[in-house]
């Protein structure tokens, strides 16, 4: 991760300087304290360059001035728009724009003058989030081709407050990076066993990590999850990560009466060929990110533990590989889920809901959670419905839904509620079993949610279909293209806002 430091505002003697500038009162000349200093030191070069570039300080506007003088290698001006009422996500975006413009610099000073310490911390968050890169498998890249930025010093008048804010945000950023790493890994490296091993490493953060293998899951009766897994040579796993941030250490020596935990459940299909209902070859490589829901849950648990969140939370991930083979599950097979309900498998490529069915039922039965939120790269239908800007979500709880929606607006990880209704549930009636695993094209994401709802046993629940949002083909201010870790910051925010004691 980018090394972040905070310091009192002062014009650096050398290197790169980022000026976060407010849109001018008349829309013409942007304002900012260090702008004047930089201008003076460079004999007016900075303001002349900004005028030439028609830089007005509008939100999202960014301009680079190379070697303006005074020993500076570059000045990057990033517009904040109006600072009054500015939101954290706008500051993070500004940090992201700055980081993108600093790839050729090893270190930079970022002037967050005029912003509070808490706001400066969000600028740092943006710098860090955008600087992420997954380059483990690049062996031939020349040093000059690699992004260099390693250290950013955020200049603020409220250094201690900024450090405090960053401490919590840094833990979240680490959760985001863990999630991005997992989602970026190719499937020949990240099989279920390897993914479970990476979860185990979270014990270092104080999480309790339990790993279930095929023997344990067979004994429990996870017929749906095991049915998906049986085509692959790579054994399945279920991992349960427990964070007791509220009940443990709540009082001095007195264990607090344990509140019900929050539960997050992720689909972790480490590679999805579709199984016997095999997918077309074009684009199949994307299916390495079919564990994106689990990747988010793991990143979220790391974030909660990393920032010592005062909450009891559990994360469960069902990890399987969906392969066609002589041992693979067939269309027409009937499996018995852990809940006892039977499922006719019409299409082996609708495997995610089968994995979730067993893990959700286990979760609600074993932990009686306050709510369950599952995340899954579940359907193409949700992409046809909403595209890549929003994740779709489904819920049986209006209050929790409203809270999630707001958290999405605040973090910029936007979600849109989609409907559930009995009329859709009828589409998954089976002639031979309690239900079938697909309901046809119309409302394809909805019928998947109806299926999952049959395994939540009436508990407060949200299902997030993140098929359109876990991976991005385009750079965004705080998300370089590739794995987005969508949901980590959203759910961290949801927890922080409503569920911490």
């Amino acid at each position: 991760m980018l090394d972040i430091a905070f310091a009192k505002p002062a014009l650096p003697k050398s290197g790169a300087l980022v000026l976060l500038l407010e849109e001018g009162a008349n829309g013409d000349s942007p304002t900012g304290t260090l702008l004047a200093a930089a201008d003076e030191a460079t004999g007016g070069a900075v303001s002349r360059a900004l005028a030439a570039a028609e830089f007005k300080g509008k939100r999202g506007q960014a301009t680079t001035i190379l070697a303006p003088g005074a020993g500076l290698s570059r000045v990057v001006a990033v517009g904040l728009g109006k600072v009054e009422g500015i939101e954290a996500r706008h500051l993070e975006d500004a940090g992201g724009h700055a980081a993108a413009a600093l790839a050729r610099e090893a270190a930079a000073s970022v002037a967050a003058v005029g912003l509070s310490g808490a706001q400066a911390a969000h600028v740092a968050m943006g710098l860090a989030l955008r600087s992420y890169r997954f380059d483990r498998y690049r062996t031939m890249e020349k040093p000059e081709e690699k992004p260099k930025l390693a250290k950013a010093t955020v200049l603020t008048t409220e250094v201690p407050k900024a450090r405090d804010g960053w401490a919590g945000l840094k833990a979240v950023a680490e959760g985001v990076f863990l999630s991005r790493d997992l989602v970026s890994e190719p499937a020949n490296v990240l099989n279920p066993a390897e993914m479970a091993e990476r979860c185990r490493k979270l014990e270092a953060l104080g999480l309790k990590v339990e790993v279930f293998g095929p023997k344990e899951m067979t004994k429990l009766g996870f017929g749906a999850l095991m049915g998906v897994a049986m085509g692959s040579a790579n054994e399945p796993r279920m991992v349960v990560m427990t964070w007791n941030g509220a009940s443990a250490g709540a009082g001095k020596g007195k264990a607090k009466a344990a509140a019900k935990p929050l539960a997050f459940i992720g689909k972790g299909v480490t590679f999805d060929t579709g199984g016997i209902s095999i997918k077309p070859a074009g684009g199949m490589e994307d299916m390495k990110w079919d564990m994106g829901g689990a990747g988010t849950v793991i990143g979220l648990m790391a974030a909660l533990a990393g920032r010592r969140a005062k909450v009891d939370a559990i994360g469960l991930v069902g990890l399987v590989e969906n392969m066609p083979s002589g041992m693979a599950q067939r269309p027409g097979d009937v499996v018995k889920t852990y809940s006892g309900q039977t499922v006719e498998v019409i299409n082996t490529d609708a495997e995610g809901r089968l994995v979730l069915a067993d893990v959700l039922w286990y979760c609600q039965q074993k932990y009686d959670p306050r709510f369950m939120i599952d995340l899954a790269t579940l359907t193409g239908a949700i992409i046809v419905a909403l595209g890549h800007e929003y994740a779709g979500f489904f819920s049986n709880d209006d209050v929790l839904s409203a809270q999630l929606h707001v958290a999405g607006e605040v973090t910029g990880e936007k979600v849109w509620r989609m409907p559930l209704a009995d009329a859709y549930d009828k589409q998954i009636k089976s002639d031979i079993a309690d239900m079938k695993n697909i309901g046809g094209r119309p409302g394809g994401a909805i019928t998947a949610a109806q299926f999952i709802q049959r395994f939540v046993n009436g508990k407060p629940w949200i299902h997030m279909d993140v098929a359109g949002t876990v991976w991005s083909g385009k750079d965004a201010p705080t998300k370089p293209k590739g794995a987005t870790a969508f949901g980590v910051r959203l759910l961290d925010r949801l927890v922080a806002e409503h569920f911490e004691s």
Partner: protein, 477 residues
């Protein structure tokens, strides 16, 4: 529509339908039969009993209908159940004793909606053809029930008018025939104007003209006006009226193309809604603007890559000629906004396959530029039994429409695209500053399965929603 009489007796009826709440006590003579059949009054269930006094059909209302709106919805579905079960009986009594006038009217409305069939093109009697033609609505308070029925029946008639249009095949219902079918609305006090091709050219509705160019039946735009009584700008309904959609040069696959005769369901619904307002003499001024064209594959068809100049002045790059609905709506919306300055615009269109993948057949997609209007439309849909679900127009959806040659392109090509959102983002550009809602009814306008309130085929979706919307939100200045 069924002939409906409100009265205390039903001498001509040979069967009686009685609604029954779950767990309610039954009269002595029916108790044993109902028990033998396991009938408890659960929603969606019925029990057909032959007694010494004639045939009695018990229809379950379910439980928990403690709000008036829920009771009306349950009775509407019960009436539909009755019509479905007794479709072979010519004259049926609906027992509305003990119901409020509005509930009684909902009971009859459900029966009329469910009993509708389109038999005009059959020349030979079919075995088992529907015979249900008349209903006696039994009540002790005929005057108040009659008054409630006058209101409810307006929406039903409007919906059935729309269905009759939607059912007609493309060789019958050309744009010119569509316009001709609107003429009889004049006798209800609706003013009808038709803008023919020459007028469209004069006014510059270039997008509508381009879509219609491939057909030998030229495009037109129909404008229906209901004056109302209050002093306020009109509410506008804009409906997509593609009388047949081949897809044009981007021709559709042959399989299922016959359903494209129903691609004018939005226009039909908008016309039906105006009829409903007129029939119940609504005080609200309203207009329906119906861009009507055939999207044919021909030597003069517009092409992918063409750039059109729309009525608004904005230029549009055509990507896929099968995304023609948003083009004709773009002109109609911009024209309506400029010429009539409405207080709100609602458009209806069988617009995208994407909305069917998104929401299936049980909600229409709702997009808007005004959250307040969206909430009103949602509430009206719920009350009318025509549910809608609000969908987003995100920044990315609009950004995706940036064109390399024109002001915007009207769709994208490729797989797994949020085309319903793209279409809505496109339409929003033409709504001017008018509060606007867009209903993508592709999944609900025409059904391969019977639904509670209609047989297989057209639903008339939107008519009763709009009628309700006007009644609750636009009848005061």
């Amino acid at each position: 529509m069924l002939e409906v009489r409100v009265g205390r007796t039903a001498p001509a009826a040979t069967a009686t339908a009685r609604p029954m709440a779950e767990g309610a006590a039954l009269p002595e003579g029916l108790r044993a039969a109902a028990a033998a059949d396991g009938f408890t009054g659960a929603a969606g269930t019925r029990c057909d009993i032959l007694t010494g006094q004639g045939r009695v059909l018990l229809v379950g209302l379910g439980s928990g209908n403690d709000e008036e709106a829920l009771r009306q919805a349950a009775l509407r579905e019960a009436g539909a159940q009755a019509a479905s079960a007794l479709i072979g009986v010519a004259h049926v009594a609906l027992d509305a004793h003990g119901l409020s006038p509005q509930e009684a009217a909902a009971f009859a409305a459900g029966a009329c909606l469910r009993a509708w069939r389109f038999e005009r093109l059959r020349t030979r009697a079919q075995e088992g053809a529907p015979r249900l033609a008349a209903i006696d609505l039994l009540t002790d308070t005929p005057d108040s029930v009659e008054a409630a029925w006058r209101v409810a029946s307006a929406g039903v008639r409007g919906a059935l008018f729309a269905r009759d249009l939607v059912a007609e095949p493309g060789n019958v219902l050309t744009p010119q025939e569509f316009a001709a079918r609107l003429q009889p609305l004049a006798r209800h006090g609706i003013a009808i104007g038709i803008l023919g091709q020459a007028e469209l050219e004069r006014q510059g509705l270039g997008a509508l003209l381009a879509v219609g160019r491939g057909s030998v039946h030229p495009p037109l735009m129909a404008v229906l006006r209901w004056k109302g009584r209050i002093k306020a700008p009109p509410v506008a309904f804009v409906g997509k009226g593609i009388t047949f959609d081949t897809g044009g040069i981007c021709i559709k696959p042959a399989e299922g193309m016959e359903h494209m005769r129903g691609d004018m369901a939005g226009a039909a619904a908008a016309a039906g809604a105006i009829l409903a307002l007129a029939l119940r003499n609504s005080p609200a001024p309203a207009i329906a603007v119906l861009p009507i064209a055939e999207n044919a594959t021909g030597a003069s068809s517009y092409r992918p890559g063409d750039v059109l100049r729309s009525f608004s002045g904005k230029t549009i790059e055509v990507v896929d000629t099968d995304a023609e609905g948003r083009l004709i709506l773009a002109d109609a919306l911009a024209w309506t906004a400029r010429q009539h300055k409405p207080r709100a615009m609602v458009d209806l269109a069988t617009l995208t396959g994407s909305i069917v993948t998104a929401l299936g057949h049980h909600h229409a997609g709702l997009f808007d530029n005004d959250a307040g209007l969206a909430a009103k439309v949602t509430a009206a849909g719920l009350a009318a039994g025509e549910p809608v679900w609000r969908m987003p127009i995100g920044e990315s959806h609009r950004r995706d429409l940036d064109s390399t040659i024109a002001d915007l392109r009207h769709c994208l090509s490729g797989r797994l695209l949020p085309d319903a959102c793209h279409a809505a983002a496109f339409l929003r550009e033409f709504a001017g500053g008018v509060p606007w809602a867009h209903l993508d009814i592709a999944g609900v306008a025409n059904r391969a399965d019977a639904e509670p309130l209609h047989a297989v085929g057209p639903s008339g979706f939107g008519v009763r929603l709009l009628d309700r919307l006007v009644a609750t939100c636009f009848e005061t200045a």
